[in-house]
């Protein structure tokens, strides 16, 4: 047995033991029916990714269907990999299977290293039943200007999609990744994903993720990030149309000195969706800086829990949490749970949190500038959802603005 097989077997062994381990947060989902269906299903229906209806759906989650402004892409529908490529020398875009088989010597240092395989039943299921997932490897000193886009799409009814993604940036590298996840036909099924990101010394990774789901879907992404000296990780997550349930709690470990992380999220709760969206930054390195910003918008009978935690361990480290909620309905619930933990006397941790509804005075003010009540409300909602994410390319910023414009005009 080679080292890959041996390692996989050890991971699978741990995963099997964790298959019934519930997640700390979020509603528990019975995975059994999805796994059963997954094992029974043989092949995906024929799917034309160039179908105009599908392309419109992809554009709604920020996908550049022309791919002209992209440095590479990865498409996966259900568990089937449709295409993947990189246009840039020094950057590899692979599937997980491909990477494990051909680049094990590299991957072994990153595979299940940022998240334990037995964290909960969702990570365990990804190891035992998952297929696909993108692996992006960026060599030292390579700075990629245009983003690489990755699309994880769900098509078949009640499908289990469980990819394992890995991004590794060498030293002094730079990469922007935009991920669009949505359903193409049936808004049902479960999306579990494991994402492990490694940001080398002096490197910068920006990760923009846009989700558009349906109420019969359950989403459990698991993300772990490790950042080395002077590295920087910027993440912006937008949930435009919510699933039935969603729970995520990415953990960023700022291991290196002078490393930085900025994590922002905008979530729109509609209907009866339940979302538990968190983030954690561990300030391990000296002078590391972390910031978590969240905007939760609750309509109808939706529930959003916005968790955020910053742990200060490294000397002279700094962290800040800003979580804001806007209620657009009497029946919606927003809960903000900011948490700060200082474990040395030399850290500076702060937070601000607020939840409220739209102030009438703001609406009347905008009406006094010539807008109707509805227009004024829409301007305020749009403003609330706009987070100025510094450090991401202008094209992505424009794309995010367009997406937010469309969503806010419908609220």
């Amino acid at each position: 047995m080679n080292t890959l097989s041996k390692s996989r077997e050890l991971f699978k062994e741990r995963a099997r033991k964790a298959l019934t381990k519930k997640s700390t947060y979020g509603p528990d989902i019975d995975l059994e029916p999805y796994i059963r269906k997954h094992l029974e299903s043989s092949s995906l229906e024929t799917l034309n990714i160039r179908d105009p209806k599908i392309q419109t759906r992809l554009e709604s989650v920020g996908v550049d269907v022309s791919e002209t402004g992209r440095s590479g892409s990865y498409y996966q529908v259900d568990w089937k990999i449709i295409s993947y490529y990189s246009r840039i020398p020094g950057v590899k875009v692979l599937t997980l299977e491909d990477a494990l088989e051909n680049y094990w010597d590299v991957i072994k240092d990153y595979f299940w290293k940022a998240i334990p395989v037995d964290r909960d039943k969702y990570t365990a299921t990804v190891e035992l039943y998952g297929r696909g997932g993108y692996v992006i490897l960026v060599d030292d000193g390579v700075k990629v200007e245009n983003p690489i886009q990755t699309c994880l799409l769900m098509y078949t009814r009640n499908i289990l999609q469980a990819p394992h993604n890995i991004i590794v940036l060498g030293d002094n590298a730079e990469l922007h990744v935009i991920t669009g996840c949505t359903f193409l036909k049936e808004p049902s099924g479960i999306h579990l994903s494991v994402s492990e990101f490694y940001v080398g010394k002096g490197s910068k990774l920006t990760f923009t993720m846009i989700h558009g789901w349906g109420l019969q879907q359950h989403i459990r992404p698991r993300t772990g990030v490790i950042v080395e000296d002077e590295g920087e990780f910027i993440s912006h997550y937008i949930v435009l149309s919510p699933p039935g349930t969603l729970q995520t709690y990415p953990t960023v470990k700022l291991r290196g000195r002078d490393s930085k992380a900025y994590i922002s999220s905008v979530s729109v709760g509609l209907n009866t969706s339940i979302m538990d969206i968190g983030a954690e930054i561990i300030l391990e390195g000296r002078r590391s800086i972390g910031e978590i910003v969240s905007r939760s918008l609750g309509r109808d009978k939706s529930t959003i829990t916005a968790r955020s935690r910053i742990v200060g361990l490294g000397r002279e480290s700094k962290g800040h949490i800003e979580c804001m909620g806007l209620l657009l309905s009497d029946s919606a619930v927003i809960e903000a749970v900011p948490q700060l933990s200082a474990q040395t006397d030399d850290v500076e941790l702060t937070h601000e949190a607020s939840i409220g509804r739209i102030a009438e005075d703001e609406i009347y003010y905008l009406m006094s500038k010539g807008f109707t009540y509805e227009e004024a409300k829409s301007i305020i909602v749009r403003g609330f959802m706009s987070i100025e994410v510094k450090g991401i390319p202008k094209t992505l910023r424009n794309m995010i603005e367009n997406v937010i414009n469309i969503v806010s005009s419908k609220l």
């Binding site: 003010y365 905008l366 006094s368 305020i380």
Partner: protein, 247 residues
């Protein structure tokens, strides 16, 4: 021709009567001062003129260029050419000053020269550095007033209602705003109602007429210069006593 006629207006807010039988008029192109101590109802009057739904007209009329607008919704009045610069505007998170102005003007069908006009007025009012900031978030008192005046100028109103443009503003900036009001608002032919309790702006803007509002009623009307002089010399209290007004 009157730009604005307020006729016997009685207004309440949350069931409490604030204005009682207020009458006031502004001729086309006239600059009128509305003076009065804090809490006398001046802001209520301008909020009612612009049509803020919080302010309920119990009786009386508001006539704009001969048309009764008392029952028109707020945005319709604005589109007819009334503009209000707020005394204390709210913060609007995530909305940049520049974007609001562009949106506001496009809604009126204006698409040309927006950028050049905006840059010009912003430069005159020394607010270029605020154009890409969120509305009123972290602005000083003076910055808020200057941005409100910028919004008014960009609207090119027929009637500008300026609520306490001079309160909480340093002398240099009152002079600056006075100059801009003279040259670009009054100079463009707009009729202007300036609310002030300190009357500082009157040093820089020549008004044709003044009203004094006390306790929700107009108590005095006449030559702006004389009224301002009296108030600056004696204050409202003494004026009230001198004229035998009863609060």
């Amino acid at each position: 021709m009157y730009a604005l006629e307020v006729v016997d207006l009685t207004v309440s807010v949350s069931g409490k009567r604030i204005l009682k039988n207020v009458s006031l008029n502004i001729k086309c192109g006239e600059v009128v001062l509305l003076l009065g101590p804090n809490g006398s109802g001046k802001s209520t009057l301008v909020q009612t003129i612009i049509g803020n739904p919080k302010y309920r007209v119990e009786s009386g009329k508001i006539i704009f260029y001969g048309e009764d607008i008392t029952k028109l919704p707020m945005e319709a009045r604005v589109l007819k050419g009334i503009s209000l610069a707020y005394q204390i505007p709210p913060k609007i998170r995530g909305v940049k000053v520049r974007d609001l102005i562009v949106h506001m003007l496009r809604k009126r069908g204006k698409t040309k020269n927006i950028v050049s006009e905006l840059e010009e007025y912003a430069s005159l009012l020394k607010v270029q550095h605020l154009l890409d900031r969120e509305i009123n978030v972290g602005f000083s008192g003076g910055e808020m007033k200057r941005v409100e005046l910028l919004l008014t100028l960009m609207q090119k109103p027929k009637l500008a209602l300026l609520d306490e443009v001079d309160s909480g503003v340093d002398v240099e900036n009152i002079a600056l705003m006075g100059k801009v009001i003279n040259e670009h608002l009054v100079g463009s032919g707009a009729s202007t109602l300036i609310i002030t309790h300190t009357a500082q702006i009157a040093k820089y803007v020549k008004a044709d007429k003044a009203y004094v509002m006390i306790n929700g009623s107009i108590k005095c009307e006449g030559d702006a210069e004389k009224i301002v002089k009296t108030i600056l010399q004696y204050g409202f209290e003494k004026c009230i006593k001198c004229l035998g007004w009863k609060l």
